[in-house]
Amino acid sequence: MHPAVSVIFFTVTSGAGLGLIFCLGLGWPMPASPLAAFLVSLLAGGLTAAGLISSTFHLGHPERAWRALSQWRSSWLSREGVSAILTLTLLGIYALVWMMTGERVAWLGLLISLFAAITVFTTAMIYAQLKTVPDWHSALTPACYLAFALAAGALLAAGLGTATTLIGMPVAILASAALIVAWTAKLLWWNRAGTIGFSHTGSSIGTATGLGGLGAVRLLERPHSGENYLTREMVHKIGRKHAARLRRIALVTGCAVPLALCFLAMATGQPAFLFLLAFASLMAGLFAERWLFFAEARHAVSLYY
């Protein structure tokens, strides 16, 4: 699949924003001033909104994007739009109350955490629902999206917040645990993607053409000598060239470096900047991971080409 930069940026950035919203909603301790309340909420909402806005750049008609809110009964993409807007609206109310009264309304917090998680889930389901792309068509896809959003949100919250321990554990340990869970899910995902081929449906050039029963089928001539929308969008091959190297980059910058920084933080009294550094490194790793998510995925249409 063609890796569109706007979509990669969207899924990574709003994933992090929604992860932070999730942590805020659960009541992650933050500095007490109204200004801090404003800035933290702005960052969480801003990352989410920046991602959403960038995702409209890959639309043919961004000016009609509002129409995408109408089909939430059937479409995951529509559900994502609706639930993102609900999350941001609720976050706005939560932030307003927090700034005015200094109080963080617990039930409203739980609600925004729930909606943040639902939004990440709907994003993942846009891909996971597609039977045509076997790499994506798995429960591991939403698992990865949710876990990465949580890891990014936790690192950011650890860097911005005032807590040193939560539920009886140092935040560095909590953030490391989130990272380990996320990358374990991703390794499982990569492992499945490496072996799945089209075996989940049993599709092949034989079933695609219906000619498999007659013998071995091979493409003799493409319909056109040049490229077309389908070959550019779904039979994209360029991104796979550097797959192994990009995976190493993703693992080092997205997993090894942030983990090392968390351990360093443990040893040095958990200074905020180490968590923020770890967050930045994770984001870089996630861009590589998301690029591969698209570039390596094979679409059923490629059976015809």
Binding site: G60, R73, S203, L220, H224, N228, H299, V301
Partner: protein, 251 residues
């Protein structure tokens, strides 16, 4: 609404006869021609006369080679020209993924259409279709797909003979047929039953309406013939034989 309608009364669609198609691309060209002037925005092209032309087409012909498993030395390979356009699936995944309601399946005849005024050009429907039947228009940035010539088949301004899809009307080999699959006595239902009409990628559970008739198996000679017996000189017969003999006598 991008939920699917309950099973439609009529199921209009195409039968494509892979035994007959000669791969001339006439249907492709006539489809492009008709749909550039008909339903919705024109079918766009980019760099049409340049080095790297590209454009939206609703029908494309692939050509495959099929080699039977037991063929000696890869012989008896069969060439199959393979037209591909929207199959107007009954469980169309392209419809249910659409966030705007632009993609829909008509309850009255099962035709799958895009309302171009609502389409935001997100491309998700093209990702959901296993067959590559949808293409983004490079000029209008809206999704394009086969309309089953909805603007011909019900068009009273056309002579009755033309009230069929442009591809069917133009096919010089008669490899394409249009009809109602819900009616067991229709031409398409009968052909499908007689010739074992098949679904493409049935495992994708899209339940395509369009059916493909498989190529008839090639007949094989009983034994391998010597290569090109015509090449051996036959000097005994006719005028050439007489000249040959005459020249030989001359010495």
């Amino acid at each position: 609404m991008t939920t699917l309608p309950p099973s439609s009364e009529k199921k209009l669609g195409l039968v494509i006869d892979l035994d007959i198609c000669v791969g001339c691309h006439a249907c492709v060209v006539n489809c492009k021609e008709w749909n550039t002037g008909g339903y919705g925005a024109p079918l766009g092209d980019v760099d049409a006369y340049g080095d790297n032309p590209s454009g939206a087409w609703l029908n494309r012909i692939h050509t495959f080679e099929v080699t039977p498993e037991d063929a000696p030395n890869g012989g008896q390979a069969q060439i199959v020209h393979f037209p591909k356009s929207c199959l107007h699936c009954e469980d169309a995944p392209c419809v249910t993924v659409c966030p705007t309601g632009a993609s829909y399946k008509r309850g009255e005849d099962g035709i799958v259409l895009v309302d171009e005024k609502k389409c935001i050009g997100c491309g998700l429907c093209a990702w959901a279709c296993p067959y590559g039947a949808r293409e983004m228009d490079p000029v209008e940035n809206v999704m394009k797909k086969c309309t089953l010539c909805v603007d011909r088949i019900y068009n009273d301004n056309l002579p009755e003979i033309d009230r069929i899809p442009a591809c069917v009307r133009t096919c010089p080999a008669n490899a394409r047929h249009f009809g109602d699959f819900a009616d067991p006595s229709s031409n398409v239902s009968k052909m499908t039953a007689e010739r074992g009409g098949m679904d493409l990628m049935p495992e994708m559970a899209t339940r395509p309406v369009n059916k493909y008739l498989p190529p008839r198996p090639k007949t094989r000679p009983a034994s391998e013939r010597e290569l090109a017996p015509a090449l051996a000189p036959r000097t005994q017969e006719g005028l050439l034989g007489w000249i040959d003999r005459a020249l030989e006598k001359l010495g």
